[in-house]
Symmetry: C2
Subunit: 216 residues, 2 copies
DNA sequence: TTAAAAATACCGGAAAACCAGTAGAAAGAA
DNA sequence: TTCTTTCTACTGGTTTTCCGGTATTTTTAA
């Protein structure tokens, strides 16, 4: 890996200190002139760029964060600092998640099981303006399985509530009481949920939602 | 953190190279005499202890591994090398998972969001014969919510099959056809599943199973 | 070999989910 | 303000799940 001569600034947003340590080590070894900034929540990083401005070249963002999800964080970062390249660094291997990230302006996607070399080469690719994927992420994008094609369905507030309660084993009647609506309304939401997830039962919808990290 | 004078051998089994790097860095800084051995699959590590014997003092094991789950790996390690302390290092924050790990002989449990200091102090505790938890893992153990108390239910082969097919939205009748049994048999399995998970519907069972990583 | 666990299967009935279609009211965006 | 989405609610009917039991056969472990 060729070391880059000019200084670059790389931020990392991840709530796992060990991952922070690991990435720091890898970056220090790969670049002669690099400063790494570590943040463990999305809020911290947003505050930083609001104050310190747009000097960050690259930011590696985990999808699962304590305060905000990486997809929304990506969008906010690109709004505040369009020149910062956002790379997702996550365990989520659903095509829909990758798509969402790219739709929100990300410059690439790294699976957390990628090698140190892949991290560095993806950063380099992103710096040169390309879209960068780790090996496995590229494979996921290349082999679009039927299920994966559909984008993450955008659920309404009410639908999310219904889905969550249904996932806890509550009946439509019980859900209706809690949401102060008619059981018939709940049933309508149920049907819309099944349609959006393209499945034949709420049970299957819950499974897909769990896979996509929309629940629990 | 006091450095330990005598040499210790620490193995790490994790399929995320970056985590391996991070832990290595942390361990090198904390101990003067340490050798770290990295493995990315459970099989690799089992082969190693079969050949090299029982010289490993500590092994950090991720629950989610490509070839075997960390719980089963823990049991096998303790069978082959009872003197090796097994510490789980995982994202799973369900009480049931922690319990399972301890039942299988683990010396402690670290959540992946713990600090570098916690990793080191847990290793020291484990070396001195104690059971070690990271801060959050300790909290989970201390505040037993009703649901969390129950241990990970041991599902039979058939139950797993039924659950998986039900999670895909299939009806009992459809499942029966695929498994070449009576629909009534499938219904019995369904009921047993709900009982084991202590929930009121298969939908809820699927959610819990997904949380515990038993599905998908 | 014997005991325990798992898989199989049944009954009848109540409750709930699912299907297909429609439609007014409210909230947000253009 | 107008258009669109979301939330709301209904009719009426079919299918499926869930509940409570019980019970034989097969497999597995001691």
């Amino acid at each position: 890996m060729l070391a880059d001569k000019k200084k670059i600034t790389i931020a990392i947003v991840d709530d796992h200190p060990i991952v922070l340590e690991g990435l720091q080590k890898v970056l220090m070894q790969a670049y002669d002139y690099v400063s790494t900034l570590c943040f463990s929540t999305g809020g911290e990083f947003l505050n930083f760029i609001k104050k310190a401005g747009t000097g960050t070249d690259i930011v590696l963002i985990d999808i699962t964060l304590p305060d905000i999800n990486g997809i929304d964080l990506c969008r906010e970062v690109k709004t505040l600092s369009p020149d910062t390249c956002v790379l997702a660094f996550s365990n989520h291997n659903e095509r829909s998640t990758i798509m969402r990230m790219l739709q929100n302006g990300a410059s690439g996607y790294l699976l957390k099981n990628c090698t140190a070399g892949e991290v560095v080469s993806c950063i380099n690719e992103a710096l040169s303006g390309q879209i960068a994927f780790s090996r496995e992420a590229r494979e996921i994008m290349a082999r679009p399985s039927a299920r994966d094609w559909q984008v993450l369905p955008a659920l309404t507030k009410r639908e999310k509530e219904v889905l969550k309660l249904a996932a806890d084993g509550q009946t439509s009647a019980a859900i209706a009481v809690q949401l102060h609506v008619s059981p018939l309304t709940v049933e309508t939401h149920r049907r819309n949920l099944m349609q959006k997830f393209n499945v034949k039962s709420i049970t299957a919808a819950v499974k897909v939602a769990m896979e996509m990290g929309l629940l629990g």
